[in-house]
Amino acid sequence: MGFNVGIDIGGTFTDLCSVGTDGRIVTCKTPTTHYDLSVGFMRGVRDLARRSGLSLPRYLEQVEALRYSTTVGTNALIERSGPKLGLITTAGFEDTIFIGRGRSWADGASVHEVRDMATIEKPAPLIDPDMVVGVRERMDCHGSVVMPLTREEILEKLQTLVDRGAMGFVVSLLWSFVNPEHERLIKQVIEEEYPEDYLGAMPVTLSSEVSPKAGEYTRTMTAVVNAYIHGIMAQELSRLGTELRAASFTKPVILVHNTGGTKKVSRTRAVLTHNAGPVAGMHGAARLGSLSGFRDIVFTDMGGTSFDIGVVAGGELRAQDFIPVIDRWRTNIPAIEVKSIGAGGGSIAWVNRLMDGQLEVGPQSAGSMPGPACYDQGGAEPTVTDADLVLGYLNPDNYLGGDMPLDAEASERVIEEKVAKPLGIPVQEAAWRIRRLVDARMGQEVFNEVALKGHDPRTFVVFACGGAGATHACGFAPYIGARTVVIPAVSSVSGAFGASSMEISQVWEQSRTIKLFRYDRQEYLADLGAFNGVVETLRGQALRDLRLEGFGPERVRLRLDLDMRYGSQYNLTKVTAPSLHLTGRADVEALCAAFTGLYSRVYSPEAAFPAGGINVECFYLTASVIAEPPPLTSAAAGPPDPAKALSGSRPACFDPAEGPRATAVYDWTRLKPGHSLSGPALIEAPDTTYVVEPGWTYRMDELRNGILTRTDA
């Protein structure tokens, strides 16, 4: 028996999922220990072993792969605990990262912060202005040297940074993605001056290696962020690896990437780990959706701290964020797009006195410590979880399977003190408003994310994941007109489940402008060498890299995506190329047709204008190791009567005007595929509680997923 383990660290809980080679799934949730992430990590692993009926060493010996989506890097950025870096750039462009782009001041800021224009400021830079030096050099857009770079110039500027205390270097020169020669020369000089066996040896990060793409601001910031979090991540992950080895796990830990793949820790760039958890969740949703015939999915994950949204269209994770923001920094990594807002079970409800006493929920969160007031860990602010408890949805004696008893009186007290009294309303009404408000915020964001990508939200199925997803699904789904909500059996640990089956994969990218169709001559590209040359370069890098992972070319699947646009346009559209190489005019035409077809679907056929010229601007080669995930166990659907799963009833409020009403409570572990019930009802699972509101029905499918269907008009 072997196990594939996924571990996802969230803002409030660390989720773990173990999928056996026989398809059996074991899960657990444990509070995230922000003071030392490895404590919660190891606690969770011990718990997985115990639930699998094995000792820790015995369990770990049978783990075939351990995939981990970590927040170590993100935390280092937020806490500003990275090293003092020096930046070497082209002379005259030293202020690029401080000027940023036109709206840098708003990047990564919350809606509240952006609205407060009188006080919002750009964040303090990751590199101090006095730690940036410009070297006299210049390449042109074709990669030809206009001004050569001399060793003396490098040494002089290097010494300046060393004297000012640099603990690492980032090198980002103009047009280095076309010709990296000068960047490599700088690295060579640094390594000659400070070899690895010297105490003064310092890491050097080249933008041409981390992000060989156009756009000096985003390319530089990608390299800066990577360098900033690299050392801390290496240290933390090395310590974790040591702890795991001491516990008999000797295989390499695999990290989940925000590009949708996984790689060994030792072969991962730090910047690719940011926000990987929700991407893993999307992957899991896509996989479960494919098993159930759902191809258009809006993935949602309501955890303790945040609400994440991702779109799976046509069964694929296709939407890639053009220039994603990491913390407050605009980068250009090819990440899968996930939208996050501060709305979770731990989101704090508060009365905004500056807005005439308006009730607000979030973005602040009570986190895992102190957590909601009902956790009885010193929390003094009312949260969404407190509201759910007061409304009767949660069982205080059976939260997290009884491992965390809740104090309902504490919830009532804080809601009364902080919300009900200031608003002059009863506690039940206050709890109801808190819930409705957070549901509305989430629903609105889901609608925006789906609609703004050009999809009709009403045609999508909502996958409600996260510890609080099942509790709020009926609340936010109506905002997008969805009539079907799927709550996977592993919904509360969706990120960990998704991670457990993700492939070894990496995206290799390169900016290069290739005019496939020239508007001035109205003819297709004839010389295919430049296009194929880029593809071959990326292919060679990918195969070499995966060989070092232990996989030969016969196990590698390649997919080529291209950023393309009509001539003179600004925005790019990502297209999957019908073939890896262009062998003749037919291939060029097919590629152009693929672009025009996608463009027409997204923007309407009237907007397409091939006569304006068609350009490729960036190449993305995704190299994945072909692997079949372990099958999931299923059971044939039986009769619909769930009577044997009924465990009692308790008062729950679905309309404050009516007050609490006796509501049937079911034990999820006793429900079987085929069982069906109508709302209002509560279903208590080990890691979450399903709230089936009036006007909805619940059915358990063959994979034990919950299918919620809206029956009212």
Partner: protein
């Protein structure tokens, strides 16, 4: 890894260490070692931390034990200095020794701060208890001990007290810190062990009076509850009584409880160090 730390590492892995760790209460002795008045030493966290490390090494302890005066929690200034001392003491010693911190339990804290250890007093003391527990746990001790003095023995172990301990337990669990309760001056060790079992703490730290108790009764009481283990007092200057404790230890070991040994109350400043070392060495041979 040093022996003291390796014993605690075994405990953290859920294993029984090869011998019971020795957790002496040496703060009064530390003042003598440092040549300071106890009050003056308490006011100097750095000196206090060093003095406790020295005194612990002097008596062959496996862990630094600090804060065993419930009155410290009732005084903001004293508590702040204690928290500072814990950081200074634990950080440099963590690689070689276990780290044990003590704090007034909720019943004692309620009485000291609100004059009332009833339901209302306990509810009022809960926020302060939670805050102080978190402050102590942030210094990353291996064990946090809640001290309930003799006056607290009349407090019923019911809803209010259980809720208070549950809150403290949750905070300690978040920081991965084991918990213990020391009921000092309470009579009838076996009865008290049974009475305190519903609080759900990991270890019962028996007061000096336990050395007079019937060993079989105490062992039985420990086995009935969900205790992970016990800390037994060792009257280091009285080898006869120490042997009686050894008997308890032997009987308890049959129930697979984890056991540790402590001094029977704080070692006096004028303790006979030679007799202490002789008794400890002799007992150490019994448990190998």
């Amino acid at each position: 890894m040093s022996e003291g730390r390796s014993l605690f590492a075994a405990l953290a892995r859920g294993e029984t260490p090869p011998r019971p760790p020795f957790l002496p209460l040496v703060e009064a002795l530390a003042a003598r070692v440092a040549g300071y008045d106890p009050a003056a030493l308490e006011a100097d966290p750095d000196r206090r931390a060093r003095a406790v490390r020295q005194a612990t090494a002097l008596v062959g302890g496996d862990a630094l034990c600090l804060g065993f005066d419930p009155a410290m929690a009732a005084d903001e200034g004293r508590f702040a200095r204690l928290a500072d001392t814990l950081v200074r003491a634990f950080e440099p010693a963590r690689g070689s020794l276990g780290c044990v911190a003590a704090l007034a339990g909720p019943a004692t804290l309620a009485r000291l701060t609100a004059g009332d250890a009833g339901k209302e007093g306990l509810e009022a003391a809960r926020p302060a208890l939670t805050r102080m527990t978190e402050a102590v746990c942030k210094t990353r001790p291996d064990l946090i001990v809640f001290l309930e003095d003799a006056e607290a023995r009349g407090v019923p172990v019911d809803g209010a007290l259980k809720r208070a301990y549950a809150a403290a337990r949750k905070v300690a669990a978040y920081y991965d810190v084991a918990t213990a309760v020391l009921a000092d001056g309470w009579e009838g060790a076996a009865d008290e062990v049974r009475r305190l079992a519903p609080l759900g703490l990991d270890y019962a730290w028996l007061g000096p009076g336990a050395s007079d108790a019937d060993p079989a009764a105490v062992a039985g009481a420990l086995g009935e509850g969900n205790w992970r283990g016990a800390v037994l007092p060792l009257p280091l200057e009285d080898s006869g009584r120490a042997a009686a404790l050894a008997e308890i230890t032997r009987r308890c070991a049959g129930d697979a409880l984890v056991l540790a040994l402590s001094s029977a109350g704080p070692l006096a400043a004028d303790a006979d160090l030679e007799r202490i070392m002789e008794t400890k060495t002799a007992l150490g041979a019994l448990h190998r």
